[in-house]
Symmetry: C2
Subunit: 108 residues, 2 copies
DNA sequence: TTGACATGACACCGAAAGGTTTCCTATAAG
DNA sequence: CTTATAGGAAACCTTTCGGTGTCATGTCAA
Protein backbone atom coordinates (compact mmCIF):
# COMPACT_ATOMS: atom_id res chain seq x y z
CA UNK A 1 0.00 0.00 0.00
CA UNK A 2 1.27 3.41 -1.07
CA UNK A 3 2.05 5.80 1.72
CA UNK A 4 -0.54 8.50 1.93
CA UNK A 5 0.69 11.40 4.03
CA UNK A 6 -1.33 14.45 4.92
CA UNK A 7 0.38 16.19 2.03
CA UNK A 8 -0.72 13.76 -0.64
CA UNK A 9 -4.15 15.19 -1.34
CA UNK A 10 -3.23 18.88 -1.66
CA UNK A 11 -0.23 18.06 -3.84
CA UNK A 12 -2.12 15.83 -6.27
CA UNK A 13 -4.94 18.33 -6.38
CA UNK A 14 -2.48 21.10 -7.23
CA UNK A 15 -0.89 19.01 -9.96
CA UNK A 16 -4.23 18.26 -11.61
CA UNK A 17 -4.38 21.58 -13.42
CA UNK A 18 -2.20 22.07 -16.53
CA UNK A 19 -1.70 25.78 -15.84
CA UNK A 20 -0.40 25.00 -12.39
CA UNK A 21 2.00 22.40 -13.75
CA UNK A 22 3.19 25.00 -16.26
CA UNK A 23 3.73 27.49 -13.44
CA UNK A 24 5.76 24.89 -11.58
CA UNK A 25 7.93 24.42 -14.66
CA UNK A 26 8.38 28.18 -14.94
CA UNK A 27 9.40 28.54 -11.31
CA UNK A 28 11.81 25.65 -11.66
CA UNK A 29 13.75 27.93 -13.96
CA UNK A 30 13.64 31.03 -11.81
CA UNK A 31 11.77 32.76 -9.01
CA UNK A 32 9.14 35.17 -10.26
CA UNK A 33 6.54 37.66 -9.02
CA UNK A 34 2.86 37.13 -9.85
CA UNK A 35 2.79 39.75 -12.57
CA UNK A 36 5.64 38.21 -14.52
CA UNK A 37 4.02 34.81 -14.37
CA UNK A 38 0.66 36.15 -15.52
CA UNK A 39 2.36 37.82 -18.49
CA UNK A 40 3.25 34.39 -19.83
CA UNK A 41 -0.28 33.01 -19.79
CA UNK A 42 -3.41 33.95 -21.63
CA UNK A 43 -5.31 34.76 -18.50
CA UNK A 44 -5.60 37.62 -16.06
CA UNK A 45 -3.36 38.19 -13.07
CA UNK A 46 -6.04 37.36 -10.49
CA UNK A 47 -6.54 33.99 -12.19
CA UNK A 48 -2.83 33.25 -11.89
CA UNK A 49 -2.86 34.50 -8.31
CA UNK A 50 -5.53 31.91 -7.52
CA UNK A 51 -3.40 29.16 -9.00
CA UNK A 52 -0.48 30.35 -6.92
CA UNK A 53 -2.68 30.22 -3.83
CA UNK A 54 -3.46 26.57 -4.56
CA UNK A 55 0.21 25.80 -5.08
CA UNK A 56 1.06 27.61 -1.87
CA UNK A 57 -1.54 25.71 0.12
CA UNK A 58 0.15 22.52 -1.04
CA UNK A 59 3.46 24.05 0.09
CA UNK A 60 4.72 23.79 -3.48
CA UNK A 61 5.82 27.41 -3.46
CA UNK A 62 7.19 29.81 -0.90
CA UNK A 63 6.50 33.52 -1.12
CA UNK A 64 8.78 36.32 0.01
CA UNK A 65 8.00 39.99 0.01
CA UNK A 66 10.55 42.22 -1.74
CA UNK A 67 9.40 45.80 -1.71
CA UNK A 68 6.11 45.91 -3.52
CA UNK A 69 6.82 42.62 -5.23
CA UNK A 70 6.08 39.16 -3.90
CA UNK A 71 8.55 36.63 -5.18
CA UNK A 72 7.29 33.10 -5.72
CA UNK A 73 9.82 30.37 -5.24
CA UNK A 74 9.32 26.73 -6.10
CA UNK A 75 9.65 24.22 -3.28
CA UNK A 76 10.36 21.01 -5.22
CA UNK A 77 10.63 19.01 -2.00
CA UNK A 78 6.85 19.20 -1.65
CA UNK A 79 6.53 17.07 -4.78
CA UNK A 80 7.90 14.20 -2.76
CA UNK A 81 4.43 13.34 -1.43
CA UNK A 82 3.29 12.59 -4.99
CA UNK A 83 6.52 10.90 -6.00
CA UNK A 84 6.43 8.62 -2.98
CA UNK A 85 2.84 7.62 -3.61
CA UNK A 86 3.64 6.74 -7.20
CA UNK A 87 6.87 5.00 -6.32
CA UNK A 88 4.93 2.20 -4.71
CA UNK A 89 3.41 1.35 -8.08
CA UNK A 90 6.74 1.36 -9.85
CA UNK A 91 7.45 -1.77 -7.85
CA UNK A 92 4.08 -3.21 -8.76
CA UNK A 93 4.67 -2.38 -12.39
CA UNK A 94 7.98 -4.20 -12.26
CA UNK A 95 6.27 -7.22 -10.69
CA UNK A 96 3.79 -7.36 -13.53
CA UNK A 97 6.57 -7.12 -16.04
CA UNK A 98 8.42 -9.93 -14.29
CA UNK A 99 5.29 -12.04 -14.23
CA UNK A 100 4.75 -11.44 -17.91
CA UNK A 101 8.35 -12.24 -18.65
CA UNK A 102 8.31 -15.51 -16.73
CA UNK A 103 5.00 -16.45 -18.36
CA UNK A 104 6.48 -15.86 -21.77
CA UNK A 105 9.61 -17.80 -20.93
CA UNK A 106 7.58 -20.67 -19.60
CA UNK A 107 5.63 -20.66 -22.83
CA UNK A 108 8.70 -21.01 -25.03
CA UNK B 1 11.62 20.88 -18.85
CA UNK B 2 9.53 17.89 -17.76
CA UNK B 3 8.19 15.77 -20.54
CA UNK B 4 4.50 16.33 -21.01
CA UNK B 5 2.95 13.62 -23.13
CA UNK B 6 -0.66 13.52 -24.24
CA UNK B 7 -1.29 11.23 -21.33
CA UNK B 8 -0.07 13.60 -18.64
CA UNK B 9 -3.24 15.60 -18.20
CA UNK B 10 -5.77 12.74 -17.95
CA UNK B 11 -3.53 10.82 -15.56
CA UNK B 12 -2.93 13.73 -13.18
CA UNK B 13 -6.60 14.62 -13.33
CA UNK B 14 -7.51 11.05 -12.43
CA UNK B 15 -5.07 11.04 -9.53
CA UNK B 16 -6.48 14.24 -8.07
CA UNK B 17 -9.40 12.53 -6.36
CA UNK B 18 -8.74 10.56 -3.15
CA UNK B 19 -11.46 8.01 -3.93
CA UNK B 20 -9.86 7.29 -7.29
CA UNK B 21 -6.45 6.85 -5.68
CA UNK B 22 -8.05 4.45 -3.20
CA UNK B 23 -9.60 2.51 -6.08
CA UNK B 24 -6.19 2.28 -7.72
CA UNK B 25 -4.77 0.83 -4.49
CA UNK B 26 -7.63 -1.67 -4.33
CA UNK B 27 -7.11 -2.81 -7.89
CA UNK B 28 -3.40 -3.13 -7.29
CA UNK B 29 -4.30 -5.96 -4.95
CA UNK B 30 -6.77 -7.71 -7.24
CA UNK B 31 -9.08 -7.24 -10.20
CA UNK B 32 -12.63 -6.40 -9.20
CA UNK B 33 -16.07 -5.72 -10.69
CA UNK B 34 -17.78 -2.38 -10.05
CA UNK B 35 -20.13 -3.76 -7.43
CA UNK B 36 -17.38 -5.17 -5.27
CA UNK B 37 -15.50 -1.88 -5.41
CA UNK B 38 -18.58 0.13 -4.49
CA UNK B 39 -19.18 -2.15 -1.50
CA UNK B 40 -15.93 -0.89 0.02
CA UNK B 41 -16.80 2.78 -0.16
CA UNK B 42 -19.47 4.85 1.45
CA UNK B 43 -21.02 5.89 -1.80
CA UNK B 44 -23.37 4.44 -4.37
CA UNK B 45 -22.37 2.20 -7.25
CA UNK B 46 -23.08 4.84 -9.94
CA UNK B 47 -20.66 7.18 -8.16
CA UNK B 48 -17.94 4.55 -8.22
CA UNK B 49 -18.77 3.76 -11.84
CA UNK B 50 -18.10 7.39 -12.71
CA UNK B 51 -14.74 7.27 -10.99
CA UNK B 52 -13.92 4.13 -12.94
CA UNK B 53 -14.87 5.92 -16.15
CA UNK B 54 -12.38 8.67 -15.33
CA UNK B 55 -9.68 6.10 -14.57
CA UNK B 56 -10.49 4.28 -17.78
CA UNK B 57 -10.29 7.44 -19.87
CA UNK B 58 -6.77 7.90 -18.48
CA UNK B 59 -6.08 4.29 -19.46
CA UNK B 60 -5.38 3.50 -15.81
CA UNK B 61 -7.72 0.54 -15.89
CA UNK B 62 -8.74 -2.03 -18.46
CA UNK B 63 -12.20 -3.57 -18.43
CA UNK B 64 -13.11 -7.08 -19.51
CA UNK B 65 -16.56 -8.53 -19.68
CA UNK B 66 -17.05 -11.82 -17.86
CA UNK B 67 -20.64 -12.95 -18.10
CA UNK B 68 -22.72 -10.27 -16.47
CA UNK B 69 -19.74 -8.90 -14.62
CA UNK B 70 -17.23 -6.36 -15.87
CA UNK B 71 -13.84 -6.90 -14.35
CA UNK B 72 -11.68 -3.84 -13.75
CA UNK B 73 -7.97 -4.39 -13.98
CA UNK B 74 -5.34 -1.86 -13.03
CA UNK B 75 -2.91 -0.78 -15.72
CA UNK B 76 0.00 0.51 -13.63
CA UNK B 77 2.00 1.34 -16.74
CA UNK B 78 -0.29 4.33 -17.34
CA UNK B 79 1.07 5.89 -14.16
CA UNK B 80 4.33 6.35 -15.99
CA UNK B 81 3.14 9.63 -17.50
CA UNK B 82 2.89 11.11 -14.01
CA UNK B 83 6.04 9.47 -12.73
CA UNK B 84 8.05 10.74 -15.67
CA UNK B 85 6.79 14.27 -15.24
CA UNK B 86 7.73 14.24 -11.57
CA UNK B 87 11.06 12.56 -12.18
CA UNK B 88 12.37 15.68 -13.82
CA UNK B 89 11.97 17.53 -10.54
CA UNK B 90 13.77 14.89 -8.54
CA UNK B 91 16.85 16.06 -10.34
CA UNK B 92 16.04 19.66 -9.59
CA UNK B 93 15.41 18.82 -5.97
CA UNK B 94 18.81 17.19 -5.73
CA UNK B 95 20.42 20.26 -7.27
CA UNK B 96 18.85 22.48 -4.66
CA UNK B 97 20.02 20.19 -1.93
CA UNK B 98 23.53 20.25 -3.30
CA UNK B 99 23.45 24.03 -3.52
CA UNK B 100 22.23 24.28 0.05
CA UNK B 101 24.88 21.89 1.21
CA UNK B 102 27.71 23.76 -0.48
CA UNK B 103 26.35 27.05 0.88
CA UNK B 104 26.36 25.64 4.37
CA UNK B 105 29.84 24.25 3.98
CA UNK B 106 31.11 27.54 2.65
CA UNK B 107 29.58 29.23 5.67
CA UNK B 108 31.38 27.08 8.20
C1' DT C 1 -39.79 -18.93 -18.11
C1' DT C 2 -39.23 -16.34 -14.15
C1' DG C 3 -36.83 -14.04 -10.98
C1' DA C 4 -32.73 -12.12 -9.05
C1' DC C 5 -28.50 -9.80 -9.85
C1' DA C 6 -24.74 -6.81 -12.18
C1' DT C 7 -24.36 -2.91 -14.80
C1' DG C 8 -25.01 0.90 -18.05
C1' DA C 9 -27.34 5.15 -18.90
C1' DC C 10 -29.87 9.19 -17.60
C1' DA C 11 -31.65 13.25 -15.39
C1' DC C 12 -30.91 16.08 -11.77
C1' DC C 13 -28.38 18.65 -7.75
C1' DG C 14 -25.38 21.34 -4.86
C1' DA C 15 -20.67 22.61 -4.30
C1' DA C 16 -16.24 23.63 -5.99
C1' DA C 17 -13.24 25.18 -9.72
C1' DG C 18 -11.43 28.36 -12.97
C1' DG C 19 -12.03 32.94 -14.78
C1' DT C 20 -13.21 37.92 -15.13
C1' DT C 21 -14.02 42.68 -13.58
C1' DT C 22 -13.65 46.08 -10.27
C1' DC C 23 -11.77 48.40 -6.43
C1' DC C 24 -8.39 49.31 -2.72
C1' DT C 25 -3.79 49.63 -0.63
C1' DA C 26 1.14 50.04 -0.48
C1' DT C 27 5.54 50.95 -2.39
C1' DA C 28 8.53 53.26 -6.06
C1' DA C 29 9.70 56.86 -8.86
C1' DG C 30 9.37 61.79 -10.92
C1' DC D 1 3.44 65.39 -3.32
C1' DT D 2 1.65 62.87 -7.07
C1' DT D 3 1.36 59.36 -10.07
C1' DA D 4 2.28 54.90 -11.84
C1' DT D 5 2.93 50.14 -10.67
C1' DA D 6 2.45 45.47 -8.06
C1' DG D 7 -0.60 42.92 -6.01
C1' DG D 8 -4.50 41.61 -2.55
C1' DA D 9 -9.50 40.90 -2.14
C1' DA D 10 -14.24 40.60 -3.08
C1' DA D 11 -18.31 39.88 -6.03
C1' DC D 12 -20.03 37.38 -9.68
C1' DC D 13 -20.50 33.96 -13.59
C1' DT D 14 -20.26 29.53 -15.99
C1' DT D 15 -18.74 24.90 -16.20
C1' DT D 16 -17.18 20.83 -14.21
C1' DC D 17 -17.30 17.55 -10.44
C1' DG D 18 -18.78 14.27 -7.22
C1' DG D 19 -23.01 12.17 -5.86
C1' DT D 20 -27.86 10.42 -5.86
C1' DG D 21 -32.05 8.13 -7.49
C1' DT D 22 -34.33 5.75 -11.15
C1' DC D 23 -34.92 2.82 -14.96
C1' DA D 24 -33.74 -0.28 -18.79
C1' DT D 25 -31.05 -4.37 -20.24
C1' DG D 26 -28.48 -8.58 -20.33
C1' DT D 27 -27.20 -12.79 -17.94
C1' DC D 28 -27.38 -16.55 -14.47
C1' DA D 29 -30.06 -19.75 -11.72
C1' DA D 30 -34.40 -22.26 -10.28
Amino acid sequence: MPLTTDQTQPVFRALADPTRRAIIMLLADRDLPVGDIAARFEMTRPAVAKHLAVLKSADLIHVSQAGRERINQLNPAALKAATDWLAWFDRFWDDRLAALKSAVEKDT
